[in-house]
Amino acid sequence: MTAETPAPSRADSAAPTASQARSAWSRRIFDVVSRYGFVIVFFAFAVFFALRADAFLNPSNLVNILEGNAVLLIAALAMTLVVASGGIDLSIGIAIDFGGWFAIIAMRDYDLTWASALLVGVLAGAAVGVLNAGLIVRLKISPFLATLGTFFIGSSIQQIYTSGGGQVPFREMSESFRSLSTGAVLGVPTEIVIAAVVGVVYFVLLERSVHGKRIHAIGLQRSVASVSGIRVSGYLVFVFVFASATVALSGIILTAGLRQFTPLSGFSYLLDAIAAVFIGASMHPQRRPNVAGTLLGVLFLGVVSNGLNLMGLDFNLRDALEGIILVGALALAFANRNNRARAVSI
């Protein structure tokens, strides 16, 4: 019955041992590269800049990098929250703008104290989030399109009330308000302190609290979250409102630093924030958006622009590098995921 059929495919059955060992090694190297590839590249850049530009490692330059990217970090953290919930927010620029704009108006036209103005700005940002949440939860428009709509509406409002985008200066700004950007707490620039506090809040919220678990569950598989009794709509409202309120803070810092509000200036942070979130996600074992990854992503963008600047190279190179790193990190992350999926789905 079980006649030994000398099938041709059996001939090479003795070979595997050597090639298997080789493939195990290459797999391990591949794993390490794809998991930590970004960190390696990050340090490679840092070392390169340190060698080529003496000023790079100067402590004051490093503080410069942190300070210059505090605003982006706050925006990227907010974006991390939104992306973790399975959405995206294209209107963070609007919330940034509204934060600074309304804070200035509150102080200039209504003589409010700096603290009240801060609150007004944050509430103005939150209002943008409320609109987003309403569109997404009530009208069931996808986050991409809902926030795109908000972006257009918000841009138009700014142009209408600033005669087509004219700056709104306020030179007589109180020192207290101004110190949100230029001051220091125990010798650390306020911007960095604010960004660090926001970072800690987001870390606790997203990585250590039950709410973070639920938000991740909603983002990964919404129907499961719903069936498990999680109030999905409630969480989505929270996510969009909280994210917008957070980025309003960065708008306020911007205006405090410049003593004026420049309409539509928040937009420039949108794409960097998205890139930082996804560079960060590519480092997570399950490719999830995460606070530490986002921080690394933002630092990377900061280091590259600073380094290019110090070396006197074309600043425009930065965008190209950002694009290459983003695409490279994602490609590696997905290549690795496919590999693993194949290995285990028996």
Partner: protein, 514 residues
């Protein structure tokens, strides 16, 4: 030797010998053999992880075997890739239904094999051929223009089968768990289709967890255990299922598992855990009333389209209702969202485990704790040690394998995934458990453990509504069985007063009476 081997091969539609396949850390197949005779319906059974899927994926060219030989229709294959197997007439009906939701039935059937006329694709011809094929070979009337997303899961399955067979060149058809999503009546339709194909001289390989199905339609069955074949049982000899099925189970698990269904102490009903009165959604449900007593297991069966799925969704707030009252533990329950339903004391184990049951990319511990995160946290701060501990405890209690609450849920087998979903609700202490097809795609060993858990839940005083289309399971587990036909409950019978045939007749024959 060689000559006899070849002669033997010539009688075989498929012959796989000594197939070995190793994944990093796992030997999935260890010299497994499988042969399907010409014109034969050949069963393949085994517990999850026995290597059934792997050998089928090797045949499909998805994986490449480390060693072993494969011949189709007497023709040895050296390098198997999807195109070459397809050319030889091997067709796969995969367990997962991969259809484009926004395509029509006809478009789906002809996807990738479109017929063309003078003016591009011959839409009308394709529609007619698809409809005819579905009606004649598979016995289902479907509008070729209907969109896939509007079809029931069972109808999608049939479209998937039609797609594989429409070119008429299939010689060997491999069915991977085809009935997992089907109701009793559709199973019959599928079996009729398989019989038609058998008469047309096609060979079939039929992979299933349902041993009664295997017994019903297969000529022979190969049993896999731990990556190798451990026996072939010939089912053509006239023997009762009572003799054959235990024999197959013994081969599968390598031991007697005793009674599949646990002995339950049936107690007197004291109070109602769930009471539903006049539930109506103005569409599929027409005044459904039912009760489930505390400590009682009530079965609910009904073919696709009977409203069974809609009833479950309405109970759980996944579907809007127009009229009716739901009472849980004597308290009127507002169940217009799943979150509310959970707070009123309901728990749902959904039928679509992979989409609605588990966050596949989360760890087992996270999934177990998902519904009850408050209990392992203080003021919103997640106590990760406590969460992990509870995950471990439940895994221990449910015997989830492999152990380790930090494993990603995607990597578990179907049976173990289902245990994790159950585990989530065990932690929640709900008063009513709605289990929708809780053992679909679950192997015999894990199934008996799930049954024991359900019995434990009832013993602890919860009401269990168990929705299923497996009459054997309903008869084995339930105190009472409700039968749904066309949006109404047409029968409410004690499990002791009915049998397999009677239940099937009620679920399907009821339609004629109405």
């Amino acid at each position: 030797m060689n000559a006899t081997g070849e002669q033997h091969d010539a009688d075989c539609a498929l012959r796989m010998e000594g197939v070995t396949k190793t994944f990093p850390g796992v030997r999935a197949l260890d010299g497994a053999s499988l042969s399907v005779g010409r014109g034969e319906v050949h069963g393949l059974v085994g517990e999850n992880g026995a290597g059934k899927s792997t050998i089928i994926k090797i045949l499909a060219g998805v994986y490449h075997a480390d060693a072993g030989s494969v011949s189709v229709d007497g023709e040895p294959l050296e390098r198997i890739d999807p195109a070459s197997v397809h050319r030889l007439g091997v067709r796969f009906i995969h367990q997962e239904i991969s259809l484009v939701p926004h395509f029509s039935v006809a478009e789906s059937v002809f996807l990738g094999q479109e017929q063309t006329g003078r003016l591009g694709t011959a839409k009308r011809a394709m529609r007619e051929r698809a409809e005819t094929f579905l009606a004649e070979t598979l016995g289902v009337e479907l509008d070729g223009r209907a969109l896939v997303r509007d079809l029931s899961v069972a109808e999608r399955k049939l479209v998937q089968i039609a797609r594989a067979l429409i070119d008429g060149r299939a010689k060997l058809v491999v069915f991977d768990e085809p009935t997992a999503v089907l109701a009793a009546a559709e199973v019959k339709t599928l079996f009729t289709a398989i019989d038609t194909l058998r008469r047309a001289g096609k060979s079939m390989l039929y992979v299933s967890h349902y041993l009664n199905e295997i017994h019903q339609i297969c000529d022979r069955v190969t049993v896999f255990r731990n990556g190798a074949d451990v026996g072939v049982v010939d089912l053509r000899q006239p023997q009762q299922p009572q003799v054959r099925v235990p024999e197959i189970i013994r081969l599968m698990v390598g031991r007697d598992i005793g009674d599949l269904y646990p002995q339950r102490r049936r107690s007197e009903r004291t109070r109602d855990a769930l009471e539903v009165a006049g539930l109506d959604d103005g569409h599929r449900l027409r005044g459904v009333s039912l009760t489930v007593g505390a400590g009682e297991v009530v079965g609910l069966t009904g073919i696709i389209g009977s409203g069974r799925a809609e009833l479950v969704d309405s109970l759980y707030g996944l579907r809007k209702i127009r009229a009716g009252k739901i009472t849980v533990d004597g308290e009127p329950a507002r169940t217009n969202s799943p979150a509310r339903a959970v707070r009123s004391g309901l728990a749902l184990v959904p039928r679509d485990r992979r989409n609605d049951g588990l966050v596949l990319d989360m760890t087992v511990a996270d999934n177990v704790n998902l519904a009850t995160l408050e209990e392992v946290s203080t003021l919103g701060w997640l106590n990760r040690a406590a969460a992990g501990r509870r995950g471990e405890e439940l895994m221990e209690r449910l015997d989830v394998r492999p152990r380790g609450s930090h494993a990603v849920s995607r990597l578990l087998s179907g049976g173990n995934q289902q245990k994790v979903v159950l585990g989530r609700w065990l932690a929640s202490q709900a008063s009513v458990y709605v289990l929708d097809d809780p053992t679909v795609g679950v192997d015999v060993g894990a199934r008996s453990e799930i049954y024991r858990l359900i019995a434990d839940l009832a013993q602890a005083g919860a009401g269990v509504l168990m929705c299923s289309n497996d009459p054997a399971e309903l008869l084995g587990m339930c105190d009472r069985i409700l039968v749904m036909v066309r949006g109404r409950i047409i029968a409410d019978i004690a499990a002791a007063d009915t049998d397999h045939e009677h239940l099937t007749a009620l679920a399907t024959g009821g339609a004629e009476a109405a």
